[in-house]
């Protein structure tokens, strides 16, 4: 199952890609919540981020201390090449399936 990616993992990965330079815990959480209209727990978000980092899909670095966080630093996330390849693979597979299933889906709609 190398390269396997869950739905939530994909969502987080894409959001990091969207937020670009400003992807950190709170911003990722808020962005996903806004877009998908679902509430996600901070714990599971960070667990998923940790897993993505383990898989080598993202890297992270600490930013500067900020006032509104009690002087604590933010950890920013960024996609690695490996992460981009993984996202692309998922997309290719999806596209392929979409193309093949177009007829049936059109029927039911």
């Amino acid at each position: 199952m190398i390269g396997y990616m869950g739905e939530f993992e994909e969502l987080v990965l894409l959001t990091i890609a969207v937020l670009n330079e400003s992807a950190y815990g709170v911003s990722i959480k808020e962005d996903i919540e806004q877009r998908t209209d679902r509430s996600i727990s901070i714990g599971s978000l960070h667990s998923t981020i940790t897993r993505l980092e383990e898989k080598g899909f993202i890297t992270s670095w600490l930013g500067d201390p900020t006032q509104e966080r009690g002087g604590r630093r933010k950890r920013y996330f960024q996609l690695t090449n490996q992460g981009k390849v993984a996202l692309r693979n998922v997309k290719t597979l999806r596209d392929e399936l979409w193309n093949l299933s177009k007829v049936t889906l059109a029927f039911s709609a």
């Binding site: 709170v26 714990g43 960070h46 667990s47 897993r51 383990e54 933010k74």
Partner: protein, 618 residues
Amino acid sequence: MKGIEPPRLAQKIFEWFCSDAAVEDLRGDIEELFYVNLGKMSVRKAKSLYWLHTLSLVTSYAVRKRKRRKNKFSSTEYTMDMLKSYFLIATRSLAKHKFFTIINVLGLATGMSISLLLITLITFVTTYDDFHVNKDRIYRVISKTNVLNNREFARTPLPLAENLQSEYPGIEEVIRISSDLSGEAEFDGKQIPMEGFFVDSHFLNVFSFPLLKGNITTALEKPQSMIITEEGAQRMFGTEDPMGKVINLKKFGDFEVTGVLKQLPKNSHIQFELLVPFQALEISKSSQKFIASDEKWSDLNIYTYLLLPKTFSEDEPERIGTFLDKIAKKVYSKNSEFVASFKLQPLSDIVPGNDLALEIGQSWDTLSFIVFGILTLLILLPACFNYANISISRALKRSKEIGLRKVVGGQRNQIFLQFILETVIVTLLALGLAYVFFVIIRNEFIPVVVDSLILDLTPRAITILYFVGFAIFVGFVAGAVPALFFAKLNPIQALKSKSSSKASGGSMIRKALIVGQFALSLGFIMAVTITIKQHAATLNYNFGFDQENILDVELQGVDPNIFRNEFSKLSSVQSISMSSNIMGASNPTRVWIQKPEGKDSTDVCKCLLITTTYLTSI
């Protein structure tokens, strides 16, 4: 939004839970969320959300992972190599500081030797009656009475056994045991006092005392048959074969030996040399009281044991209990002077168990074990305190080592473990010495506590295992304080300072330990001094009669006239006088005396019956 902060307790919990793992960004995230939420909702709601976030993070994989890799240069895992190294360092350090080691080992060994005694005693007592094949099915009926401050008696009235046998269908065997047999046994002109019981003939089917000779089903069938133990046979017949020999038991007539029992295990709560059928008691003329009748309900004269069927249901003992209650109600309703109720006691509860009156054999009540246990602790604890004090005061010698360990990444719990391990090595050494002490004091101790015949303090495999477990436990108790102290040392101070690396907390603990140790020791010295004085006072007290050259001999059922005749032949015996009881030592006979002033008023007197020369000879 100034002034409002996230809940402090939640922050503390987070901090404590993550210890020194890198979670700055995570805490920042939830704090940021908190302030964002403050703008959107009530303070209360924001705070509870903060709690929720904290819990969600604390239990998340993210924090788990970060805790695991919190320090690249140190591992919190305990590898075999590390333990080996600890062991090596510990042995080196112990070998280097021989004086310290010897003092500690000696101190701990003294404290532990008493504990070993207690452990052996407890393991021995818990094996009581384990050898009976039917041990889970054997019950005894005991009586709770309204006499002697509502004491419980191990005996029951005679008719109860018959009632159980005939009116309660679910019992496999009812065994009656009477201890009236003790007295002199005569064979071939030789008279030897023997202990024995009258028992129902199925006694050996219930209790697993193996027969060396004879048939288990027929040995007690005839009323004039008798089973003797190996040791009893040896006393009576020497090396001769006891089978078929006829022994005369004064009051009860002649009995033929039909079986020889293997020597009884010491951990049996029933001890005897002879077994004689219960029938013999019933037909003997001198024992009219052993014929069951309704008047006999106020005499607690026999022991009643029950064997339940192999597949008895769980509530069977309870049902028997209600049946016993019913009998008691029926029997004692009219008789108000003596009232008793009965209950079942499983074999395993007899020894160790509660202290019952008229117990069939030696009893080991739980209370005396607790007292002994507390005494043991009082002796053991100062030894542990002592170890802790000496170890901490030696901290200077080890502080460099600990400082260095910490600098290269030694974690607190690793240093804690190291010193615990070192203490365990010391306590294991002490165990060796304590065992030697134990063997020495064991022989002194046995006669103090109890008739040595029934106490077996030879440790078995399991006892040795308990010993080792105990030594490790003592290692933890004695080592905890110094190990904590060392684990807490500040590495910079430990490496730098030559004179004092005292952590302030450590000295407080030490002071407390020293005070505790001295208080206990002083208490002991006082207690011992008082005991010695009291003992001396008791011995030297002037009772008003000459105690020199007087022997008090308990006759144990021997005919007094024969005794008097035989002993008066000895030239060293000047005079012989007799009393009904040993003066001061046993329960005297009670008599009721009518007071002179009125016919109805009586008084109880304790009464000692004596022969005419008694007063003059003392």
